[in-house]
Amino acid sequence: MVRLELSGVRRTYGDVAALRGIDLGVRDGEFFTLVGPSGCGKTTTLRCIAGLETPDAGAIRFGDTDVSDVPPEARGVGVVFQHYALFPTMTVRENVAYGLRFDPPDGSVDERVAAMLDLVDLAGMGDRDPDELSGGQRQRVALARALAPAPDVLLLDEPLSSLDARLRDRLRLELKRVQRELGVTTVYVTHDQAEALAVSDRLAVVHDGRIAQVGEPEAVYDGPETRFVAEFLGENNCLDGRAVGGETEGSLVRAGETEFAVTGDHRGPVTLCVRPESLDVNASHNQFDARVRDVEFLGDGYRVHFEWNGRDVVARLDDAPTGSVTLGFDPADAVVLER
């Protein structure tokens, strides 16, 4: 187990800058997620960590060792790709045992493989060929294979994206369990913000080749530092306005004709962000009238799309409203970002 550190990592393909300087620290044994839209550079970052890409500049350190010049086979990483990448000419057992050829375990190889298969709930499947397995089983083989040589760092590149939703949820939990059991430092790449929020100890939102924000899921979710992060992680209603001095506490944000009360001291151009779940028909503050446009039933409630002043506003409500309603939110629930 090791601490992982990236500083100033850059990577350019021709004229296209994929990484514009990535600085990152992943703690020992942590489940760390890189999340961002496709093309943001998260996979390139992961491939740089694995040694499959060579950065143009910057350093990558495992613990105190700079691994920038270490080839992938000597880095002690385990990688799981989206499409499994199982060796088609080998059985499940041979796949899992492959890494042990280069890094023999203390005990017997067979035992280690059996333990790994057990860990991913595939005991007894060792003699199968990869093409005899389902997608979920293949991905668990890929995980067992990556973990068998006890890597210092586990790298997961969209490992669940090829699977169906229900399987994805189950495997996500399993992944987390296995990771916690082994305590291996893990970097997980996904474009799915819900997945990122669910599994990570900490996460980094990657945007346009840079790290936009790092932190624990709750902290980033509740305290986005940029409008991009606010809108990418979960849903958000963001509104540009101008903050002016308010009453004794907090400030006022003026957007068009309307003024909203927020906490904290703000001045100048700002973006006001309010989560759909923070909007309520019974709220006593920051009320405004909006017209119902669409209603989606989610089982435990409704997601309602409103029209207000020509813009779309989304709210999570317990009951489905009709016509025009008055919405409001608690000043403490709003996030104000300086522009």
Partner: protein
């Protein structure tokens, strides 16, 4: 077998070449003695020659495949397209090129003379093996490159991160996936070498006679029964080999590449691979560019001096009456080849699909369907003559099939096995889930095949089509039998006519000029076809 190629360079060098480092003395002795042939009868010698030829093809073809699959450079696609060209050249032209390149007074000796070396290879086994290599190494290259295009890059990367150095990842992950296609290529090369004959006689002489030489002689002498029994024995051997191969043909496992292995630039800091590529370029220069350039030079030479007489001859044939017109030969060849490919590709893909399942019966059918490769061309010609040309009487009607349609059909039959052997190994790797997914999305079996399976085996289809094209352009035995009138001649037939035109006498120039036309037309066709095919490959 690993030394099949080396002797060409070492044989009878009168001790002046450097001692081949590390080669065991026994092998060197064997090589210096000119491989004392393992003459265990006619079939034994033929097999021996085929093994040497196959070894040469593998030794030269595999590094070529490595360079083409691993490196990116300008003209890579074009070179890949051109690999099939040697396949269509008539033996006499290859003999001309080889004598001019490797002969006692050949270009290579001129070069070696600069450093005080001399090489005598004429009329010996090494030269014949080199010529067989010239013909068939591209086949190994082409097959293996097509298979390499379907290897999953992520699997290679995974192996690397699991601790495998680059070469080891290649050995453990890539090689097993290439193996079935590679073995298919080896099988085909062996069959070709086993049945080779004009080139063996043209460069080696009757002292190196193979089974096919005797079959040809027996047929010429109308000793058809004995010819047929030899041909049957010959076919039995090659078909048995095919059957054995099919028994062990594995798709290399199912799996769909999510990303193909990225090629690295050829130009860059020196590495072992780049040095290999440079060495290979040298070999290709000597083995391919040399003889081909020599043939072209021959077409520009008459009686030892530079001359346009040979092209003037072609022009006179073109413009005069009653002559064999080059343009007619070119257009016939191209029309027949396009027609043959149009039939051979669906035919080959169908056969590959039908025989793809496991089971002895399918395997047997698969082996038998390779018969067009396994049956002697001379005997096929006689069969076509007696069956199609003489015709049969049915219900009072005399049915006789000749002319362009029959030629196209015969070419397609000769070409489809290449499509089968290229496609089958890739087909075995297509995941059943993918087809199932397409079916559940509403595609019928045919539609699912077209939309899902076909694109996945496309590299094999394109490679197979290229070979079918080449086989058609180069075909001689069936074409000359089925072309019943003087006007249905193809490029090889025109070349043959120029060769035996009494007004030309002993000069090979006019034939070399036609050979050059053949070379240029074929090369251009391949580049065009593969550009189109490449677009479809995606």
């Amino acid at each position: 077998m690993g030394d099949a190629h080396r002797p060409v360079l070492l044989r009878r060098t009168r001790g002046r070449l450097a001692n081949p480092a590390g080669a065991p003395d026994a092998i060197v002795g064997w090589v210096r003695a000119g491989f004392p042939a393992v003459r265990t009868g006619l079939f034994g010698f033929t097999a021996y020659l085929a093994v040497l030829g196959t070894g040469g093809a593998v030794l030269v073809g595999l590094p070529g495949a490595y360079v083409l699959a691993r490196y990116e450079f300008r003209g890579r696609e074009t070179i890949r397209s051109l690999t099939v060209v040697p396949f269509v050249l008539p033996a006499i032209m290859v003999a001309v090129g080889f004598t001019a390149m490797f002969g006692t007074h050949g270009a290579l000796n001129d070069l070696l003379g600069v450093v005080g070396l001399h090489l005598t290879v004429a009329f010996d086994l090494p030269l014949v093996v080199a010529a067989l290599t010239f013909y068939n190494a591209p086949l190994v290259t082409r097959f293996v490159v097509a298979a390499a295009d379907t290897v999953d890059a992520r699997a290679v990367e995974t192996a690397r991160t699991l601790g495998a150095p680059r070469w080891r990842a290649f050995l453990d992950v890539v090689a097993p996936q290439l193996l079935p296609t590679f073995l298919a290529a080896v099988l085909l090369v062996f069959v070709f070498d086993f049945m080779a004959f004009p080139i063996v006689l043209a460069l080696g002489g009757l002292q190196l006679a193979t089974v096919e030489v005797w079959i040809y002689s027996l047929v010429s002498n109308l000793d058809l029964t004995e010819a047929a029994s030899l041909a049957v024995l010959e076919a039995a051997i090659t078909l048995t080999l095919t059957y054995v191969y099919l028994r062990y043909e594995r798709g290399g496992g199912a799996g769909t590449a999510s990303a193909t292995v990225e090629r690295v630039p050829l130009v860059g800091p020196p590495s072992a691979g780049r040095l290999l590529a440079a060495a290979y370029a040298l070999v290709a220069l000597v083995l391919y560019v040399g003889p081909l350039a020599s043939m072209i030079a021959e077409s520009l030479t008459r009686a030892g001096s530079l001359s346009t007489a040979n092209y003037a001859f072609l022009l006179a044939q073109q413009l005069g009456s009653g002559g064999t017109r080059p343009t007619v030969a070119v257009s016939n060849s191209l029309v027949f080849a396009v027609g043959a490919v149009a039939i051979a590709v669906p035919m080959g893909v169908s056969v590959a699909v039908v025989t793809s399942d496991k089971g002895r019966l399918r395997r047997l059918a698969g082996a038998l369907l390779m018969a067009p490769l396994a049956v002697s061309g001379v005997v096929t010609g006689i069969g076509l003559l007696q069956g199609l040309v003489f015709g049969v009487d049915v219900l009072g009607y005399h049915l006789s099939v000749t002319g362009p349609v029959a030629i196209v059909a015969a070419h397609a039959v000769a070409g489809y096995p290449f499509v089968v052997r290229n496609v089958a190994p890739l087909l075995a790797r297509v995941e059943g889930d993918l087809v199932a997914a397409a079916r559940t999305l509403g595609a019928g079996p045919a539609r699912a095949f077209r939309d899902v399976t076909l694109p996945l085996v496309a590299p094999g289809v394109v490679a197979g089509a290229a070979f079918a094209f080449a086989v058609s352009v180069g075909e001689f035995n069936a074409t000359i039998v089925l072309a019943r009138d003087g006007a249905t001649y193809t490029m090889p037939i025109a070349l043959e006519r120029y060769l035996s035109n009494p007004s030309i006498g002993p000069y090979l120039g006019p034939a070399a000029a036609m050979g050059t036309v053949l070379l240029v037309v074929t090369a251009a066709s391949f580049v065009v076809v593969e550009r189109l095919g490449g677009r479809w490959e995606g």
